[in-house]
């Protein structure tokens, strides 16, 4: 199975909201772009998800969640197989508050894959990647390598 057909199938699958994880559905997160080792996700603005009622700025945790999800899908897109992964750690710098009313996009790049751990960089922004809201470095654990082989033989 080449990356191309795997990513095509994954794109089609993730285009349907019912295939998103329950928490991503709750936040309204959608996958807007997938390519090899890269994923771009978007979370719409919602006043109920504000961290501060006075200014309506989204809670930092919403940014963390969309970044973590983008990171996870960039890892799957890099591995070319939908295996079981888990976030090992992530560090986020909040560079500026998100503008109330605007959706937040998270773009993640899985820049290194090893046997057990995958390394990711990610940015969150509104429209302009050069004016980011948050910067992230994260690592993900490949949890079950036997599952990788089982899925590979099935494919």
């Amino acid at each position: 199975m080449t990356d191309y057909t795997f990513l095509d199938a994954l794109r089609e699958q993730l285009a349907r909201p019912e295939n998103q994880s329950p928490h991503n559905r709750f936040l309204g997160i959608e996958v807007v772009h997938l390519e090899h080792a890269r994923a771009v996700l978007r979370v719409p603005y919602a006043a109920r998800l504000a961290g501060n009622a006075t200014n309506g700025v989204l809670h930092g945790g919403v940014i963390t969640t969309v970044i973590d999800s983008a990171g996870g899908w960039s890892v799957i897109a890099a591995l070319g197989r939908r295996i079981n992964i888990a976030t090992l750690d992530l560090r986020i710098d909040y560079l500026k508050p998100a503008t109330p009313g605007m959706a937040v996009t998270a773009a993640a790049h899985c820049y290194k894959v090893t046997r057990n751990v995958c390394f990711v960089r990610a940015l969150a922004y509104h429209a302009d990647r050069d004016d980011p809201i948050a910067n992230c470095a994260a690592s993900f654990m490949i949890k079950d390598t036997t599952l990788v082989q089982e899925e590979a033989t099935q494919a």
Binding site: H23, F26, N52, H59, G61, D68, S69, L88
Partner: protein, 143 residues
């Protein structure tokens, strides 16, 4: 009620149910805030809406980070008599164990409360506080 009134009322009455007025995210996610002898305790009732991996039914890692960040902010609200909310500068989250769909708790400890910046450590667990599922360390801007 303004955010200032909500924070003051919560501190005075030691009843933190109104904190959601200041931080809507707390109510939207179903987080309950109470005070314990060790500090603020955040509780999240078991709910499948926080699942990030439908195959393993594990809680969403990003959401666990969000829960820890909320615990840090709420602890800072308790310790600092300020009319504004602390703003996160950066956070580091370490994931130690997978989170299941179960009651989840978080608490935070302020390591250093400076005039402008606070350093906070937070921990999140399900059954045993000694076996955290994730920890956070972060810097917050106190304005």
């Amino acid at each position: 009620m303004s955010i200032i009134d909500a924070l003051r009322a919560a501190r005075q009455s030691r009843d933190y149910r109104g904190l959601g007025e200041a931080m809507p995210y707390i109510d939207a996610l179903g987080i309950t805030v109470t005070e314990s002898p060790q500090g603020m305790l955040l509780t999240l009732a078991a709910s499948s809406i926080h699942v990030g991996n439908p195959f393993t039914q594990a809680l969403h890692g990003g959401f666990i980070g969000a829960f820890l960040e909320t615990a840090a902010i709420v602890q800072l609200i308790l310790e600092q008599d300020s009319d504004s909310l602390p703003k996160p500068i950066n956070i580091t989250v370490d994931y130690l164990r997978g989170g299941r769909v179960a009651d989840t708790r978080a608490a935070a400890r302020v390591t250093k409360l400076g005039r402008r910046v606070a350093n906070v450590h937070a921990s999140c667990w399900q059954d045993d506080p000694e076996r955290p599922i994730a920890t956070l360390s972060g810097h917050f801007l106190m304005s």
